[in-house]
Amino acid sequence: MEWNEHTVDTDGGPFVLHEAGEGPATIVYLHDEQSAMPGPVAAKLAERARVVAPSHPGFGTANRPEWVESVRDVAEHYVDLLGALALPSTTALVGASMGAWIATELAIRTGCPFSSLSLINPIGIHVPGHPAKDFWYVRNPEELLFTDPAAMPEVPAGERVANEESAARYGWSPRLHDPTLAPRLHRLALPVQLVWGTDDRLLPKEHLDAWRDLLPAADVAEIPSAGHFPGYEQPDHTADVIAEFIAQSAN
């Protein structure tokens, strides 16, 4: 499966975009912090839809304007990309982990011009008494992030340090959340799906409960035998539940 990687120039600066697949639906996929590439779940989705996936500013080789310092800034920056892409009104938005956080901000910022929003093990909200575990102060962070550390994607050293730096830039403090996000979640006026790798060791189960409380109409799809990144550990199952939700929401 080949991604067509190209640069999109906008008034707000250049973006790195990956595109693949075709089909009745268009999906904007926002990657997690493991890789600047869309990853295996996006590849599965591209077997039945057109997938458009930017690299977040600072990740991989993507440009980061100097003012972009937070997830909220990233979403603000993506307004320029959406303007340049002129996507159809049936576009679905999907994101994983930090990408899910960015997707949430983007939907709120743009007034939800998407047919649906799928969030895979999202970070971004504060759950009092149940903080995310800290993968930044352990010897073997992959053991927190994957049920099978072998599922961790191979990423070249140069890209990996860029991704790590960018994840820290957006997530170091407050740690993996923005206290202003939860009070704005009611603005998500579109179908929302929470996809959850049930063996997540990074986020306690209370995070899923909190998202459900904040988004009572959301659909929930649990993915067994997967940790924080079900897109790598169970790409088929994860893609199936997302594709099904996108199809349902389009009707």
């Binding site: 930044w136 102060y137 352990v138 010897r139 962070p141 050293a157 140069g158 990996r160 340090v161 860029a162 790590e164 730096e165 994840a167 820290a168 830039r169 170091w172 403090s173 407050p174 740690r175």
Partner: protein, 390 residues
Amino acid sequence: MKFVAFHLMPWPYLPENFADVEDSAWVTYSNQHYDPERGHELYERYLSELAACEGMGFDAIAVNEHHQTAYGLMPAPNIVATALVNRTKTARIAILGNAIPLRDHPMRVVEEVAMLDVMSGGRIICGIVRGLGAEYHTFGINPVHSQERFFEAHDLMVAAWTRPGPFDWDGKHYQVKYVNPWPRPIQDPHPPIWLPTQGSSSTVRWAAEKRYTLFQTFSPLAALVKSTRQYSEFAREFGYTPDPEQLGWAVPIYVGKDDDSAMAEFKPHVEYLYHQLRRRPWQATMPAGYVPRAAAAAVIERRKGVGTDRPTAEELAARGEIIVGGPKAVLARLRESIDSTGIGTLATMIQTGTMSHEQTTASIGRLTELVLPQLSGYLPNVVAHSAVAS
């Protein structure tokens, strides 16, 4: 030569099997293991050991800043410096250094160091550091901003001390409507600025440009040779030849009666420092974004090893990272190190963790009576240094 007495104020009570059962002496090792009663005794002992170095041939007494660790008990170096100002009359007090990016606002450091300088009658040396990687877990400061904050805090500090106030500061990380600190430092234009570092070439270049004293810490002799050579080359680029005193080295030194007894006496204590007190996971040494991408990518394969190696005292001595022996051997080793690097400022770490007061005092006594006087006025053998540098 200028001599500096230096001390980490370490916690000496880690259990013997610490490194086998605990992952880190930093950030996560519970403060329930800290005993304030013992801490009180330690401060009294350590402060008097440092203050006693005045009048023993040392030009300066140095303190530093570390957070949430058994490694060193001086999270607020300006407070320790204040105690030493009160216990001394003539020695310079070198703060090596204030971790300026870790402060919410550098104007605090600007004020505190100026106060110390005025109170001490101009005896302060102002070292500035970024703070170790682990320390970016202490205050929620983003390691990605470490370098930017360091340089901006430095620029603001020097401006606050040298430009007539009040003036505006509109930086990326700090904004002040009125920069106008009272008091101003007594030293003109401001206390000397030293740069403790492990010697990345961009830092060395910046120090050379500013003519700040570069202060290499915890490094094998080969790394010191490299950074001092770089400094001299950069200085030439900037059109001057550095004074040897601009090149500094901090090194654990132990002087025993003779070589064999010295190694036997020092070995458990210096290994306590290297094996126990410095233990931490790789992410604590180099958190995401703490160093430029190229530097981080270059060491990515070695991550797992960081903080797990346990060099023996013999290995450390062989690579010139510590100096240990009888007075003659220590003197010879120091001359050799000075000649191969051109350093003119030598900071001797006089206590490495578990050394008793008696042992510390005995080693300092031999060092100051039998070694340092032989070096006082000693200048690096420039011919030898040029030969190394070419």
